[in-house]
């Protein structure tokens, strides 16, 4: 987190970015996002289940299938949060493979590490506190890079995508699982009502923090839609980019390959 704040400070001091629906100084966004995740880390898993009705497990299962990770692969899971994907990747890569769970937020990383250690995971997983915009890994290093429900919190998304491209091996794939735009207007309206009324109330009741969950709802609306994100991936150099809409487009999985 400190790294990202420092990096943000190196950028133009006058630049503004969005934090949910608010406009904030770019250098403040990482700190504000950190505040959100510090607040919710302890009950993140429970909230994910409540908020999505458990469907986030299905979205992640599909992501694992599309990842085509196999024994011996080296996998980087960015914004790995509480380790759901890292656990599956760890099973798939086996002892000869390696999984790096990276998160910018130390609270989330600590909760994830404790959870994985308690479940007996350890030998092939490493934990790194890292900023997605400047990944501290060598070039051409990973077979697969994944980021699930993390990209929308990144201040400079193009910089993060370029950094992911750099650390991927040629032929390696990037997977972005993120909230997106529902295609059906009726579903879209129902989803809005849910996000701005039900979600913050759930957040207040379960995690004792409605503001953080209001931020999550707002940040989802500010995130680029399916085709915009696909275009951003192509602009930084990913090829054969495509996306899969899930649950009517509430969530989309984007995939692209490093040439």
């Amino acid at each position: 987190m400190v790294g990202s704040v420092r990096r943000a400070q190196m950028m133009s001091e006058s630049d503004k970015t969005h934090f949910g629906y608010q406009q904030v100084d770019e250098q403040d966004k990482a700190g504000l996002v950190a505040g959100v995740f510090d607040s919710v880390a302890g009950r993140y898993d429970l909230m994910n289940d409540l908020m999505s009705g458990g469907i986030h497990r299905v979205w992640k299962r599909f992501t694992i299938e599309v990842s085509a990770v196999r024994a011996g692969h080296r996998v980087l899971d960015i914004a790995g949060g509480t380790g759901d994907l890292a656990m599956k990747f760890s099973d798939l890569v086996g002892e000869e493979g390696e999984v790096v769970l990276a998160d910018i937020n130390d609270s989330m990383l600590r909760v994830g590490r404790d959870k994985l250690l308690n479940r007996g995971y350890g030998t092939n997983i490493e934990y790194v506190q890292a900023d997605a915009e400047s990944l501290p890994f060598p070039d051409d290093h990973f077979d697969v890079v994944s980021i699930a429900f993390g990209l929308r919190n990144v201040t400079h998304k193009e910089a993060a995508l370029a950094s992911m491209l750099r650390v991927l091996k040629s032929g390696g794939r990037l997977l972005i699982l993120e909230f997106s735009k529902p295609g059906n207007p009726l579903l879209s309206r129902a989803y809005d009502t849910y996000s701005f009324n039900v979600l913050p109330t759930l957040g207040r009741l379960v995690a004792g923090d409605s503001d953080s969950y209001r931020y999550l709802a707002e940040s989802i609306r500010m995130h680029p839609d399916q085709d915009t994100l696909k275009g951003m991936m192509e602009d930084v150099g990913f090829q054969r980019c495509e996306y899969y809409n899930m649950t009517g487009g509430i969530v989309a999985l984007h995939r692209g390959f490093k040439p």
Partner: protein
Amino acid sequence: MVDPALHTAGVGALEAAINRALALDKLTAAQLGALDGKVFRLQCTQPRADFYLLPKPGRVQLKGFHDGAVTTAIRGTAADFAGLATADDPAAALINGNIELDGDSAPLMELQRILALLDLDWEAPLVSAFGDVAGHQLAQGLRGLFSWGRMAGDSVLRQLEEFIHEEARLAPPRAEVEDFYDDVDKLGQRVDRLAARIARLASKLQAN
């Protein structure tokens, strides 16, 4: 195209249910390990279902999406699959039946052989995964599928018949049908006798 989330959820639930059932016959299920690394694609055209089955020691992995080589792909209707599964000679059924096969047929025959050895009660795990009605009906389907070629097949068919007649009331029980036919016969005979009496009375009236 089916929403990947729905498809993945269905495939995941089926996988969990099958593995809970496989855990009940661990010795036979362990033989699935011999097929570890093989990938079977099952494409059912009617009703539509498309998934991949990857045998592992003691369990199976089901996937809705697979990006890699497929050992054997089979395509057909549920009736075609059932026909293959219940054939006395699956190899001949495969050659002569409607199922389209791509790839190596030997691992498929081996998979069938192992699954046929399983002696499982599919009911409890499927009911816990899908609820009473759907779980029970799936269990019946799987019992039929996995018990093909076994002497126990008769018992499965009898159970299925009992279920259709007694539990689901999809069709009336044989005894009820026979009683009904008896009643119809008796009614028919009484109508005939009545018709005969009327004819006799009518002829008497005419004579008078």
